[in-house]
């Protein structure tokens, strides 16, 4: 009995601590959203107000009136094109490789996979300069559209998503594959008709991470963008950063742009948060 009541008390304490903490955690975000609807005057005079006294869309209107300088919808479209293409290509290429590393059997398979995993130790900082030199030499930075190649392709060799997909494929019972083979399915048939549908959840997790990584990437696109020098071909992240570092830094407009950029992410997150959190928790358990 004593333990029961102590458990109950503990739950109550944990609840209140978490509640306070999560309010603290959300406050900056909520305040930022509120502030993006404040007038220039209220930004200075009503600093603490979370809900503006005279809410106005002016910051957003100014932002969209200035599309030639800050084409934010264009940036979003760019980021969406880049992240979608990158994710689609990566899922096909990495899951094919995962198939070879899990369903197909060959000599040295596990050794080769082990080497792949070990290379995750190579610090990415050492690769940035040579990669930059490579994409310049490929001519990928010669015009805006081609510069997207530099943002889509180099990441396709990433190990992390392959690892997630392979961990899932390897737990698919052998009998499923064998019976499909007896039914006369080729490897291509097994891959597309059996493994792909079965591995949907792993592909979803790997796809989410690929998309998020590409969508949120900042350092690499900022290097590419600094060479292409055409505001129409910036990604959303480099575009936002260019607004922030511009000489005539305007609070309201910049905040409105930041809010516009995070709203779709938050909406998508609300729908897929369980998949993301589950995916992350697995990386720790099977590391």
């Amino acid at each position: 009995m004593a333990i029961r009541s102590s458990v109950r008390r503990r739950k109550r304490v944990a609840f209140w601590v978490l509640l306070v903490l999560s309010i603290v955690w959300m406050l900056p975000l909520v305040w930022a959203i509120g502030t993006s609807f404040k007038s220039a005057e209220e930004i200075t005079n009503n600093v603490l107000g979370i809900i503006p006294m005279n809410a106005t869309f002016k910051n957003y209107q100014d932002l969209f009136a200035d599309v030639s300088q800050y084409p934010i919808l264009r940036w979003m479209a760019n980021s969406f094109i880049i992240a979608s293409l990158h994710t689609a290509l990566y899922l096909v290429i990495a899951s094919a490789a995962a198939y070879a590393f899990s369903i197909l059997r060959w000599k040295y398979r596990n050794l080769v996979f082990g080497i792949l995993i070990t290379t995750m130790m190579i610090p990415s900082v050492a690769n940035i300069i040579p990669l930059f030199s490579m994409v310049v030499n490929f001519g990928w930075l010669n015009d805006g559209w081609r510069s997207f190649l530099a943002l889509i392709i180099p990441g396709l060799g990433g190990v992390f998503g392959l690892f997630i997909i392979r961990q899932f494929f390897i737990n698919i019972p052998r009998e499923v594959v064998e019976s499909a083979r007896i039914d006369g399915l080729s490897d291509l048939g097994i891959f597309f008709r059996i493994i792909f549908p079965l591995g949907k959840s792993a592909l979803m997790v790997a796809g989410l991470f690929a998309f998020m990584g590409s969508w949120n990437d900042y350092l690499w696109p900022s290097i590419i963008g600094s060479v292409v020098m055409d505001p129409n071909f910036l990604t959303l992240q480099t575009g936002l950063a260019s607004m922030q570092s511009s000489n005539n830094y305007e609070y309201g407009k910049t905040m409105a742009a930041a809010i516009i950029s995070i709203i779709p992410v938050i909406i998508v997150y609300m729908f897929v948060q369980d998949k993301i959190i589950e995916g992350v928790s697995h990386t720790g358990l099977k590391g």
Binding site: V47, N127, I223
Partner: protein
């Protein structure tokens, strides 16, 4: 099996079957392996190569071989030219300051939150979703939002300080304000992953052990110390290693919040490397040398941690 008794016809058939099998494996594997080799393995060696040149990205043929000059420039300086040495060591010092302060925070805060969530109070799943949310946001949006929170005149934080009668602090332009701003932003942004990983470890612990220990008169903190923490040592190791690497690679927070100031006191090594890469006075060879030195340091620290952890676990 009965390999010896194959006639030529059977041998040929077996050979063809094997060839076909390897063709299939190659077809599945090669696209990925080619991309991996081109964009992950080759650059690694190419970067070492570049670091021995006065490199010209836009006209590689005009690059001149300079031996260890770039390394000498970064580590010791050459003659009167000590500016790169100063940058390198200053960047390294600033990066190490960030690593030393951020890593304990980025383990401790997620650990506390994960323990609280593992108690499973009302709405614990919603709490987990909230603490993970900032992790999915981009550093450029976060840079804008937090730069404003720390703004001297219109910022939320000074607003609260003023409310309680305090004086406004010029967070981003003075020390230690600038580091505090960078650390707060980093903790807010990145604790999600570690919280989830540590939480997944805690969830696996048999809760009957907790009850048994409490029946034996342990209080909850003893239970945490002697049962929970040892049980999640694997997750702790993973989190520590990945967090140390991530903290070494810090770039976006200072680049977007403080611009490396005040007086270069938050200019981390990645910012100096990035600064050498493009622009009119770019020195990609020097940037490559600095990056390789930094990469070596990261590898050494990671291996050191692995060895230390293995010893600690074996003991």
């Amino acid at each position: 099996m009965a390999k010896k008794f194959l006639n030529p016809e059977q041998k040929k058939r077996r050979y063809l079957a094997n060839a076909k099998r390897y063709a299939v494996i190659g077809a599945f594997l090669l696209p990925y392996i080619i991309l991996f080799a081109t964009f992950f393995i080759y650059p690694f060696f190419y970067g070492i190569y570049i670091s021995f040149f006065r490199w010209n990205v836009f006209d590689t043929a005009s690059s001149t071989f300079v031996g260890f000059e770039n390394y000498q420039k970064a580590l010791f300086g050459i003659g009167d030219i000590t500016i790169w040495r100063e940058y390198f060591w200053l960047g390294l010092k600033n990066t190490l300051i960030f690593v030393l302060i951020s890593v304990p925070l980025l383990i401790l805060v997620p650990l506390i939150i994960a323990i609280l969530i593992d108690i499973q109070p009302r709405g614990y799943k919603a709490f987990r979703v909230i603490f993970f949310l900032p992790t999915v946001l981009s550093i450029s949006a976060i840079g804008i939002i937090w730069k404003w929170q720390f703004d001297t005149n219109n910022g939320f934080i000074n607003g609260i300080i003023n409310l309680f009668g305090g004086e406004s602090v010029s967070w981003l332009n003075t020390q230690p304000g600038a580091w505090i701003a960078i650390l707060v932003t980093t903790v807010w942004w990145t604790i999600g992953t570690n919280t989830v990983i540590l939480g997944a470890g805690l969830k696996e612990v048999d809760k009957q052990l907790y009850e048994a220990a409490e029946l034996d008169g342990c209080n909850y903190f003893q239970v945490l110390r002697h049962i929970s923490l040892p049980a999640i040592s694997n997750q702790m190791i993973i989190c520590t290693i990945t967090t140390v690497i991530a903290s070494f690679n810090i770039y976006g927070q200072p680049a977007l919040l403080t611009g490396g100031g005040p007086e270069r006191s938050t200019t981390v090594l990645m910012m100096f490397i990035r600064g050498q890469l493009t622009g009119t006075n770019a020195q990609p060879g020097l940037a490559a040398a600095m990056a390789i030195l930094m990469g070596l340091l990261i590898i050494m620290v990671s291996i050191g941690q692995l060895i230390y952890n293995r010893r600690a676990v074996n003991r």
